[in-house]
Amino acid sequence: MNELQLATARAIVNVFETGRVQGNYSGIAVAKGDSGHLSYGRSQASLGSGALYDLLSDYCQCPGARYATALTPYLPRFQQKDVTLDTNMLVRQILKDAANLDPLMRATQDRFFDRRYLSPALMAAEALGITDPLSQTVIYDSTVQGGWARLRGRLAAPVTGKTRDWVRQYVDVRRAWLMSLAAPLPSTVYRMDTFKSLMVADKWDLDLPLIAHGVTLTEESLAADVPVSNAKPRALILTSPYLRGADVEAAQRSLVAKGLPATMDGVYGPFTDGLVKRWQTSQAIPENGVGPLTRASLGL
C-alpha cells in the first residue's frame, strides 16, 4: 500500500473504532475482566494486557514529550497492571491532555498501534499472497478488533490469483462469527458490512472518496485536524462528517474579520462553506472550499 492507502486503511479502522476519521487519541474506557481494565488511545491499549504500559513507556522516552514528567511516576504501576489506576482521575486527565495537546502522543500512538496491529496484519496478508489494499485492510481490522488468528484457521489458504474470493469468504465467515458472539459484538457487524459494500463498489485499491460506516473519506478528511507546524495545510471542503479543527476556526475568524457573520464553532459545515463561497465570489476566486487562493485572500 502507498502512503495514501495506508492512511485510508487507518482511517477506516478509526471510523469503526471511534466513529471518527482521525480516531480518538484521547479515548479512555474501563472494561471488566483481567484482559481489560483501563484502556486508552486510538486503538485502546489496555492496562490488563500490558499494552498501555508499553505505549506510555514509548511516549515517555520521546525527547520533548510534554507530559512525560507527569506520567513517568505512574509507569511502575502501569507495568504492574495496578487496577486502582482504573479510577485514578488525575491519571485519566493527564492521558486526555497528552492526547489532545501534545502531537507527540498522537505520533507515538500511531507508531505504537501500527507496530502492534498494522505491521503484523500486512505481514499476515503478505504470507497469504494478499496484495489488495482493501483486503489488507480487512486483515488489519481483524487484528485490531481481535480474532484474526482464530478465524484465519477456519479457511483453507487462498488460491493464487483468487485472493479476492478468499477475502470475500473470510468477511462472510467473520460476520457470521461476530453474530454468534456475546453482545454487543453482533452489533459490530457494520465493519464487515462496510467491507462488503466497498467490495461491491470495486474499491479494492481504496480509491477516494469512499464511505465507511456513514463517514465519507476524502483526502481532505484524512489530513490531520491539528496539523503539525511544518505540515502542508489541508484544504477545507464540505464533507460528511464536517471537518473540524483549529484551521477551520481560524478560517471562520478571518471570515468574521472580513465582515462575514461566521459562527465560531470550528465546524466547516454548510453555513461556513456558504460564507466561504460568498467571499470567493466577492474576490473572484475560482476555488472549491478553502484552498491556497482562498487561504491567501483570507490572510491565513
Binding site: 469503526f16 482464530r150 456475546a182 454487543p184 453482533p186 460528511s240 462528517p241 454548510p270
Partner: protein, 632 residues
C-alpha cells in the same frame, strides 16, 4: 437256444457265433469255423474312469408322426489290446457292451455328429480300428449307473471284459458344491448376527458381523478365533466334499465322519480355549490402535509378536495344505479324507504351543475401557460461555450527557430549519437512551444515519436560506439560524461517533474473552486394565504428553493412581492425569492449546514399558462416538 434260432444264426443270417451264443445263452461249435482264430486281448482302460461326457440327441420311433427325442450322455472309449481286425476286416471285430453285442458302424470317429435337440440322429455307435492294438468307439451311451463293461470278440473268441466308469461329477463340480455348502454354513452365524438389535461400536465405526472375530476385552481381531474358524470351515468343506463324492458321485452310503476331522477341530478348539484361559489368568494383551485391524493378528498391543506370526502362518499353511489335499482326491474313487502327515500335525501342535507360550510369557498389555476429559468442552466453547457471561450493553451515558450538555448550551432555535436540526438531535438522544437490547442497538445505527442526514439537510437548507436572503435584515435574521443548524448537525455527527466509540469499547471485553480465553485445567481419567503408571508413555494425537506437564495430588509430575491392579500394583485400573495450563512453558502451552482449544476429535495413546499400546478416541465436546463407541 432253440434249434430254430441256431439255424437262423448259422445259415440264414450268418451272424457271428458268439452273438448267437449270447442270444441263446448256450455255447455251440460254429458251423463255418475253418481255421483256429486267436481271441483278441483287451487290456484295462487307462484311465479307468471319466466325468467328461458329451450330449447326444437320438431319435426314437414312437406312435406318432413326430419321432421322440432322447437326450443321452455319451463317451468315446479307446480300447487297447491286441488281435484287433483292421482295414477291410475291421467289421469282424465284435463289440460287447454290458454283455450286449452292439451294432457299430465301422469307419472313422472324426467328424461324427450326435445330433441336437432340433435335429436328432439315430442311436448309433461308430467304431474305428486304428490298428490291431487300438479301437476307438464313439457315441457310447452312458448307462444310469455309469459303468460300461466292454468285451471284444472275433468269431467265437471273446476277450476278457474290462470295465470303464463314467462319473456324474468331477473335482471341479464337487469342489464348487462343497464350497457352496461350507460357505452357506459359515454364513449362517453371520446371518444370525445380523439379527442383533444394535451393533457394537468402536470409535465411530459399527461392528456387527465382524464381532465373530473380535476379542471384546481388547476390541482387536483374535488370532485364536480366526484359526478356530478357519479349521472349522476347512472341516466343513472337506466333509461336504467327501459326502458328495461318496453319496452323489459314487452312489454309496452316507459316509461316517472321518477320523481326521475331530482331531482337527479338537486342536483348533483347544488352542482357542487355552488362549482364553491364559487371557483370564494372565491378563489380556494390549488393546493397540483405536479400531481393530488385520495387524492385530500379528501384534500384541501394537507390538509385533513373533509367536503370533508363526501361529498365523502355520494355520494358513495347514488349512491350505489340507484343503488342497482334499480337492486332490478324485470324487469317483475317493474312499477317505486325506490324512494329515504326522510331522505336519506335530509342527502345528508346536505352533499352538508356541503361541500359547508367548501369551503366557508376555506381560499383560494396557486396555482402556473408558476415557473422560473434564471439562469436556474445548477452551473455545468455554471462552464463548465466558464471553456470554461478560455480555454487556455499551455505556452510552457519557456520550449522551456530553451531547445533551452541548445542545443545552446552544441558543434556542428560532427558524424552522434550526428546529428541524434540533429535533433530529433530540430524537437521536432519545434513541440512544432507549437502547436496552441487542435489537435496539442494531436498529440505532440506521436511526442515527437517517437523523444525521436530516440534520445535514437542515443545515444545508439554512445555509441556502441565508445566502438567498433578499436584504440585510433578512440575512441578519437568518444568520443565527444557519449557524445554529450547522452546529446542531455537527453535534449530531459527534454524538454518532461517540456512540460508535462506546460500542467498540464495550465490544472489546467479550472479544478479549473469546480471543484470549483463560485456559481451563484439564483432568483426564482413564479406566481400564493394565495401565502402566511409572513407565508409560502418554500421547495425544501421537504427540507426547510428557510427565513434566502433569501435576498429581501430591504436586509431583506424575499421574494419580486411583485404583491399582490387584495382581500388579505398578499397573492401574483407574488413573488420572491432571494438566494445569498456568504452569506450562510456552512450548507446552502451544501443545496444550492444540489439544484442547478447539472442538475436534483426538486420539489418546498409552504405551506400557514393554511397548504394548492402547488407543482411544475422544472428542471435545464429547459426541456420540465417545459416549458409546470408544469403550475398548
Amino acid at each position: 437256444m432253440s434249434q430254430l434260432a441256431r439255424a437262423c444264426c448259422v445259415v440264414v443270417l450268418s451272424l457271428p457265433w458268439a452273438w448267437c451264443t449270447a442270444w441263446g445263452g448256450e455255447t455251440a461249435t460254429p458251423a463255418a469255423a475253418a481255421a483256429p482264430v486267436a481271441a483278441p486281448v483287451l487290456r484295462d482302460f487307462v484311465p479307468k474312469y471319466t466325468d467328461s461326457t458329451q450330449s447326444a440327441y437320438f431319435a426314437e420311433s414312437g406312435g406318432g408322426k413326430q419321432p421322440l427325442v432322447s437326450h443321452e450322455r455319451i463317451v468315446t472309449l479307446v480300447l487297447r489290446g491286441s488281435g484287433f481286425q483292421t482295414g477291410a476286416d475291421q467289421d469282424k471285430n465284435l463289440i460287447f457292451i454290458n454283455d450286449d453285442h452292439m451294432h457299430v458302424t465301422w469307419g472313422s470317429c472324426q467328424g461324427r455328429k450326435f445330433g441336437t435337440e432340433a435335429s436328432p440322429v439315430g442311436n448309433q455307435i461308430f467304431a474305428e480300428s486304428v490298428s490291431d492294438e487300438e479301437i476307438h468307439l464313439c457315441g457310447v451311451v452312458v448307462p444310469p449307473h455309469g459303468e460300461i463293461r466292454v468285451k471284444v470278440g472275433l468269431g467265437e473268441k471273446l476277450s476278457d471284459q474290462k470295465s470303464y466308469q463314467v462319473y456324474s461329477m468331477g473335482r471341479t463340480s464337487v469342489t464348487a458344491i462343497a464350497a457352496v455348502v461350507a460357505l452357506a454354513l459359515a454364513l449362517l452365524p453371520l446371518w444370525l448376527l445380523s439379527f442383533l438389535p444394535s451393533s457394537y461400536r468402536i470409535s465411530t465405526q459399527d461392528y456387527k458381523l465382524r464381532l465373530l472375530f473380535l476379542d471384546p476385552q481388547t476390541d482387536t481381531y483374535s488370532l485364536s478365533k480366526l484359526q478356530f474358524y478357519l479349521w472349522t470351515v476347512a472341516a466343513l468343506f472337506s466333509y461336504a466334499y467327501f459326502f458328495i463324492s461318496r453319496v452323489i458321485v459314487q452312489y454309496s452310503d452316507w459316509p461316517d465322519v472321518p477320523a481326521t476331522l475331530p482331531g482337527i477341530i479338537a486342536v483348533a478348539a483347544g488352542t482357542s480355549i487355552s488362549s482364553q484361559v491364559i487371557t483370564i489368568s494372565r491378563g489380556s494383551k494390549g488393546a493397540g490402535p483405536v479400531t481393530p485391524g488385520f495387524a492385530d493378528l500379528i501384534t500384541s498391543g501394537g507390538v509385533v509378536a513373533p509367536d503370533r506370526i508363526q501361529m498365523l502362518l502355520w494355520t494358513l499353511f495347514g488349512v491350505g495344505a489340507f484343503l488342497i489335499a482334499v480337492v486332490e482326491q478324485y470324487p469317483g474313487t475317493m474312499d477317505a479324507l486325506p490324512t494329515i502327515p504326522e510331522r505336519l500335525v506335530y509342527l502345528m501342535g508346536l505352533s499352538s504351543a508356541g503361541y500359547l507360550g508367548g501369551k503366557l510369557a508376555r506381560k499383560p498389555g494396557p486396555v482402556i475401557n473408558e476415557f473422560s476429559v473434564i471439562p469436556s468442552e474445548p477452551d473455545e466453547t468455554l471462552a464463548r460461555a465466558g464471553s456470554l457471561a461478560q455480555s454487556q450493553m455499551p455505556d452510552f451515558s457519557t456520550a449522551i450527557l456530553s451531547a445533551s450538555g452541548r445542545l443545552a448550551a446552544l441558543p434556542r432555535a428560532a427558524g424552522a430549519r434550526a428546529q428541524a436540526g434540533v429535533d433530529a438531535l433530540s430524537r437521536a438522544l432519545s434513541a440512544a437512551k432507549s437502547v436496552q437490547t441487542t435489537s435496539d442497538l442494531n436498529g440505532l445505527w440506521n436511526t442515527l444515519e437517517q437523523l444525521r442526514a436530516a440534520a445535514g439537510d437542515a443545515a444545508e437548507g439554512a445555509a441556502v436560506d441565508f445566502a438567498n436572503a433578499p436584504d440585510d435584515a433578512a440575512r441578519a435574521s437568518r444568520q443565527s439560524d444557519a449557524g445554529l443548524t450547522q452546529s446542531v448537525a455537527a453535534l449530531l455527527q459527534d454524538l454518532s461517533a461517540d456512540l460508535t466509540s462506546a460500542l467498540a469499547s464495550a465490544a472489546a471485553v467479550p472479544m478479549a474473552a473469546v480471543t484470549a480465553p483463560p485456559l481451563a485445567t484439564r483432568t483426564i481419567t482413564l479406566r481400564g486394565t493394565n495401565l502402566s503408571t511409572d513407565e508409560a508413555l502418554f500421547e495425544i494425537d501421537h504427540l507426547e504428553l510428557p510427565f513434566r506437564i502433569l501435576r498429581n495430588s501430591q504436586g509431583n509430575h506424575a499421574p494419580d493412581i486411583l485404583v491399582r491392579e490387584d495382581s500388579a500394583p505398578t499397573l492401574a485400573r483407574i488413573m488420572r492425569l491432571t494438566i494445569e495450563p498456568t504452569t506450562l512453558s510456552d512450548d507446552d502451552l502451544i501443545q496444550f492449546r492444540h489439544w484442547f482449544e478447539s472442538p475436534g476429535t483426538h486420539t489418546f495413546t498409552i504405551t506400557n514399558g514393554d511397548g504394548q499400546q492402547a488407543e482411544i478416541m475422544f472428542a471435545l465436546p464429547p459426541g456420540a462416538g465417545q459416549k458409546t463407541g470408544v469403550s475398548r
